[in-house]
């Protein structure tokens, strides 16, 4: 275990709510930002709240910087967990001025355990001119800076940031991003950051945790996973794992076997037999009821319909390949009706997914 992991976070969290279940194993390193991404309702904010002790009846284990916050025998209450939480809406205290807000957490840390100096944090976040101001007069960006400073001054062993930019306009976002980018250089503890914006994640995160339906779908270095993550339904993509089986140098193509189906992709520079990860956009997948063996469409996969999710433009079909890999297809409402997939009994049906175009993700396969 290296030094980073020693200061990091290890957590196994189980939480059951009506209609929702969180079941997450996660390791977060210190000295960098780890972003939690995933569709709405995936449990991103709930995950942060569980770590902070703000949700009841959480089971599992949380160890932060060697200190156990949660296990089978005890759960530390929130105020005994050394953490910082930057809420989406900043949640500053309206009855205190900026200085009072900044000092609130700092005052509750014993002097010899303080790891952040008030003057340094104020100077870094450029809050000097605001200290005597009431918080109601602050702009959105100023509020988030105060919230960030307030959290840092509590000398946290884990910093949790929930969609810090979502309440801001584009210009304010641009102005506050540099501070967040600068965070790992100033702050050694792990930072867990929830975001909807892939652009924000691309700039901030070293690691990524991809949540779906309360579970970790993928976790790993952001630069590998980021291309696979669709934050909106338009960008939704699936990653299929396969094996490189053939090179067709004449056509500039490589053949990749995915669950017994051959996909042809742009020539990959890798030895045969090595793993390859295919990136399939939901908008490039259509479905049919029958196999179309005679046509020119090469990339056709037998699948089982797992779920139909209605979206504004139609529906997202969640499809399982023969070996249980997940594929998405975005189809129109009309197709949904014509294929009779809008009925509950359609779930479990055998279908054929036709993949119009497929990309190759950077290698480095890492199972979730």
């Amino acid at each position: 275990m290296n030094a980073d992991q020693g200061r990091g976070v290890e957590a196994e969290l189980r939480l059951t709510r009506p209609g929702f279940e969180l079941d997450v194993d996660l390791a977060v390193a210190g000295g960098c930002i780890t972003s939690v991404v995933g569709p709405s309702g995936a449990g991103k904010t709930t995950l942060l709240r569980c770590l902070a002790g703000l949700e009841r009846d959480v089971r599992g284990r949380i160890v932060v910087a060697g200190e156990t916050w949660l296990d089978a025998s005890r759960a530390l209450p929130t105020h005994r967990r050394r953490l910082g939480f930057v809420f989406q809406d900043a949640s500053l205290f309206g009855h205190l001025d900026v200085r009072g807000n900044l000092r609130y957490g700092e005052r509750r840390v014993p002097r010899d355990q303080r790891r952040a100096a008030f003057d340094e944090v104020v100077a870094w976040l450029e809050l000097d001119g605001l200290l005597e101001r009431r918080v109601h007069g602050l702009s959105g960006g100023e509020r988030q800076r105060v919230a960030l400073g307030r959290a840092l001054l509590a000398s946290p062993s884990l910093l949790l940031i929930d969609e810090p930019l979502s309440a801001l306009d584009a210009a304010a976002r641009e102005r506050i991003l540099p501070w967040l980018e600068d965070l790992p250089a100033r702050f050694a503890a792990p930072v867990l950051h929830v975001s909807h914006s892939l652009r924000e994640v691309a700039r901030l995160a070293r690691d990524l945790v991809w949540l779906e339906d309360g579970r970790v779908r993928e976790a790993g270095p952001a630069r590998e996973l980021l291309p696979l993550v669709g934050s909106t339904d338009d960008e939704l993509a699936a990653a299929l794992r396969g094996t490189l089986v053939e090179h067709h140098d004449d056509d500039g193509l490589s053949a990749v076997d995915v669950d017994g189906v051959t996909f042809f992709v742009r020539r990959v520079d890798a030895p045969l037999g090595s793993g390859a990860r295919l990136l399939v956009q939901a908008r490039d997948v259509s479905v049919a009821l029958e196999a179309d063996s005679g046509s020119s469409i090469l990339n056709e996969v037998p699948v089982v319909l797992a779920r139909v999710r209605r979206v504004a433009s139609g529906a997202i079909l969640e499809l399982d390949t023969p070996r249980g890999q997940r594929l998405y297809a975005r189809i129109t409402r009309r197709s949904l009706r014509l294929l009779a997939l809008d009925r509950p009994e359609a779930v479990g049906r055998d279908l054929f997914a036709r993949v119009k175009s497929v990309g190759v993700a950077p290698s480095g396969t890492r199972a979730s």
Partner: protein, 222 residues
């Protein structure tokens, strides 16, 4: 002029208000915490004094707290204070009678505040009592002013309950009773004097509260 009656009214109202703030705070906090059948039942009980004639409330209190009533007997067995025709009894009755005037404004303010500020304080290391005193109370200060003024004014103004529980002994004759007695004995001069003091006093208290509340509201907003 019956100064002792006026002083007694003021003392009773002050003690009642203090007790009400202490009891009403946790009760209102609990009621604001969510909705359940138990909460609805308790909320209804708290609101009852708003609709019941004071004499009805006073009558039942007399029955329950009297020497033969269950609470009266229990207290007697335990060597506790007598509750009927005593100052303590007046405080107990006034507290019950004015409970909704404290609980309702506080509960509404707690609900409007929401849990988020409390959660934020917890993440910053403040324990339950700490965050209540340093975040919740200052944030809902205007509601506390309202609650205290309503409790005080309502206690000074009560008559039926006080008459039932306290009667008109020197120890329990509050201003409203004294005015009524003066009128009964056709001593209109005394009734006039007492009433005028009550009107002027009430006006000053309410005006002060009003101004204070406006300042508190500005303070927690601006």
């Amino acid at each position: 002029m019956d100064w002792s009656a006026l002083r007694l009214s003021g003392e009773l109202a002050a003690v009642t208000t203090l007790v009400l703030l202490v009891i009403g705070t946790p009760l209102a906090w609990w009621l604001a915490g969510g909705r359940s059948t138990l909460r609805s039942v308790v909320e209804t009980i708290v609101a009852l004094p708003l609709v019941l004639p004071p004499t009805v409330l006073g009558f039942y209190l007399l029955v329950v707290m009297g020497p033969r009533g269950p609470i009266g007997e229990l207290l007697d067995d335990l060597g506790g204070p007598k509750l009927v025709f005593t100052f303590t009894g007046l405080v107990v009755a006034s507290v019950l009678f004015s409970l909704p005037f404290v609980v309702q404004p506080l509960r509404n303010a707690f609900r409007a505040l929401g849990r988020r500020p409390v959660e934020a304080a917890a993440t910053l290391g403040a324990g339950p009592v700490d965050r209540f005193l340093t975040v919740v109370v200052p944030s809902v200060l205007p509601a506390y002013v309202t609650a205290a003024v309503l409790a005080f004014a309502h206690t000074v103004g009560e008559f039926g309950v006080v008459l039932m529980i306290g009667g008109s002994l020197p120890e329990t004759r509050v201003a409203s009773i004294a005015v009524w007695e003066a009128v009964e004995s056709l001593d209109y001069d005394r009734a006039h004097a007492m009433s005028a003091v009550l009107v002027a006093g009430s006006f000053v208290v309410l005006l002060a509260a009003n101004l204070l509340e406006r300042r508190a509201a500005r303070g927690s907003e601006a």
